[in-house]
């Protein structure tokens, strides 16, 4: 996998957009998920995830090829998310919560095609609760927690993505997890 990515990156540097398309295919779900966990909104997450890939393409020359590509890509995506959170304007999207309702989004106002089984509804509700609690975390804890719980991410990688010392990353994960514990313990 790494060798494929390395080969594709060489082609991208030469300007090959099809090769970049393959890279997008490999990482699109992780990057989208990262953005969604950070922003809590599909529309915004898609927008920022796309932006992250475009920035990666435009700045591919500055990527050091002996480093892990995913680390570099996630760093771009995380920074874009943090920027977006900082200058967040009140926008209205389909999955933004409808004012005055608890957990009701515009999606739930569009009638769904088929009723979901009980267990699935429950697990979806739990997922929504967890996601909502993650979104309540201050952005510096949120980024550490979101990265920590993405597949195969080591503390070292997180420290590289966030450009923070390892000790700081640990502290942020611990504080973030503690905050989540207090919110989720009675669920």
């Amino acid at each position: 996998m790494d060798t494929i990515v390395k080969k594709r990156i060489k082609q991208v540097i030469k300007g090959d957009q099809n090769a970049f398309g393959e890279i997008v295919e490999i990482y699109k779900n992780s990057v989208f998920q990262l953005c969604y966990r950070m922003l809590g909104n599909r529309h915004e997450a898609e927008d920022i995830a796309q932006e992250a890939f475009i920035r990666a393409y435009v700045n591919i020359q500055s990527f050091k090829q002996d480093k892990k590509f995913s680390t570099w890509l996630f760093r771009i995506a995380t920074n874009l998310c943090i920027d977006r959170i900082r200058k967040k304007k009140p926008d209205y999207y389909l999955d933004a919560e409808v004012a005055g309702t608890e957990g009701l989004t515009m999606y739930s106002q569009i009638s769904s095609d088929s009723p979901l089984p009980e267990a699935e509804v429950e697990s979806l509700e739990l997922q929504e609760t967890v996601q909502k609690e993650i979104l309540k975390l201050p952005e510096k804890y949120r980024s550490a927690i979101v990265l920590k719980y993405m597949e195969d991410m080591s503390l070292n990688e997180i420290s590289e993505i966030l450009n923070l010392p390892l000790g700081t990353v640990k502290t942020r994960i611990h504080r973030g997890r503690e905050a989540l514990r207090q919110q989720l313990r009675y669920v």
Partner: protein, 207 residues
């Protein structure tokens, strides 16, 4: 209240960063302290919850949307990719271009009168005559001239850019062909090349 250090151990445990010795210390403490045990269980539950939120799929047209937003690709790259993706077509088109080039250049060089060398052919004013009663062995090829066949030709007769006249007494054992237009001429060349190629492949078998 238990020392802060115990909470650190719990988190390190969840980060899978706890060595066995410290893990034993943590376990010992948890056995003796109900309060900490509850917190530890809550932390483990939280950890499982966050881990359990399902993986997300990017929207289906995500890649296409990204590619559509990229700055324009250089033409050169596009051509290179096309060539590498279609090696057979590339080889074929290079072959055709080269062949066309050589054919056309031969066509334009070929404006002089010439005739294949057979000793009993008579040439008069750009007309090649196969005299009455004579037998010409082998193929007769005439460029930019006419041919009159009054005798016998044991082989094919080809006239390029000219006319053939076959007298009633004349006889050709092979085929008679007249080539007057560029495309006829190209076709003639192609046939000849194929014939030569087949000969090359055919020869070893007959030997």
């Amino acid at each position: 209240m238990c020392p802060e250090q115990i909470f650190e151990l719990m988190h390190d445990y969840l980060d899978e960063e706890l060595d066995p010795e410290k893990e034993r210390a943590l376990r010992d403490h948890l056995k003796s302290c109900k309060e900490c045990e509850t917190i530890f269980n809550e932390l483990k539950k939280t950890d499982a919850f966050v881990r359990g939120i399902s993986h997300m799929q990017a929207p289906p047209d995500f890649t296409a949307n990204v590619l559509a937003r990229l700055p324009k690709e250089k033409k050169r790259i596009w051509m290179q990719r096309w060539f590498t993706n279609h090696p057979m077509l590339t080889a074929a088109s290079v072959f055709i271009i080269l062949m066309m080039g050589s054919l056309f250049s031969t066509w334009s060089q070929d404006q002089e009168f010439s005739v294949s060398k057979q000793k009993n052919l008579v040439v008069k004013n750009n007309t090649v005559i196969v005299p009455k009663g004579e037998t010409v062995k082998g193929d007769v090829v005439v460029h930019n001239g006419n041919v009159r066949i009054e005798g016998e030709v044991q082989g094919d007769v080809t006239v390029i850019n000219g006319e053939k006249y076959l007298a009633s007494a004349g006889h050709v054992t092979g085929q008679i062909e007249e080539v007057n237009e560029v495309f006829d001429w190209i076709w003639y060349h192609m046939k000849r090349i194929t014939h030569d190629v087949l000969d090359i492949f055919g020869q070893p078998e007959t030997k």
